[in-house]
Symmetry: C2
Subunit: 161 residues, 2 copies
Amino acid sequence: MNNIYTEAVTDTRWLDATEMAAWSAFLSTAHLLERRIEEQLKAAAGLTHPQYEILVRLSGAPGGRMRMTELARGCVVSKSALTYQITQLEKVGLVERASCPSDERGVLAVLTEAGRHCLEKVAPGHLEVVRAYLIDRLSPEELRTVGAAMRKTEQALRAAP
Amino acid sequence: MNNIYTEAVTDTRWLDATEMAAWSAFLSTAHLLERRIEEQLKAAAGLTHPQYEILVRLSGAPGGRMRMTELARGCVVSKSALTYQITQLEKVGLVERASCPSDERGVLAVLTEAGRHCLEKVAPGHLEVVRAYLIDRLSPEELRTVGAAMRKTEQALRAAP
DNA sequence: CGAAGATCGTTTGAATTCGAACAAGAGCCT
DNA sequence: AGGCTCTTGTTCGAATTCAAACGATCTTCG
């Protein structure tokens, strides 16, 4: 009693053992690592991970400045979350807002000197964690493969919406 | 003017290009995929990803039941977040609470029939997303390597605290 | 047995997230 | 120019997260 429609709707491609194991481990690792990083950053500098991400992205941008929307895209947070976090970072003097010369609506998030120094102070301890739990546990070949796999997925996800 | 102490504190092992690319892609992918999954689950069944995770873990446990603390560990959420989510799921009848026979303090989260049916209904669409953006984009060998890498990291993170 | 300390799940309060709605400005097309 | 439509960043409200504090129960060890 099957036809192409019921087939299409009904046939689920479940995950085999290898796929399931990979997906499950990926999920747990992402959450666990996030927790660990959050803990380290909070203890070391009172920063959250999204805040740290913002500083990192700004520090890599020309002039230490970026448009809000672009920054939000880079950090993979909503625009409203970025507005909130930039306000927080402004309060503690790590970031400033500047108006955009080329677009009257635009706002630039600008890394301050204090922000750059904070990042330089915090980065080593942060990288320590990333290394200790992820990077240093993988062989060069594993690292290459993981990197390639993640890039493919990232690209697909950024293209989709 | 260096000694072993300043060395130890000062020498930061930065990430080389390969390491940086892998880490950055991992981070972005985790966030993007999370967003995409959240969107799909919300649209398909009004579930959040943590809620779906709870249903999945329960469905895989003997008797469809698990202790709160163990479930929280499995899902990688705080105990208070789990308390909140189980209450939510109870409201819509997908999960029930039961008292634990062996421990008076204990609480068992139990998957209801409705919960099991909901999961069966939602799983295909969810897996579609996981496949479309991650699993099906990787070669069997890549998948194996990613799985192994994630398991190593997960294990390290679960052992640490 | 009984006291000290660990563990269990919940409650509480603060912080953060998201999407939707909004006003202001840019861009396009004729 | 002028009207449409898209984009920008912010604001709002609701939902969710976490850690810390708590009362209740278990466990261990003297």
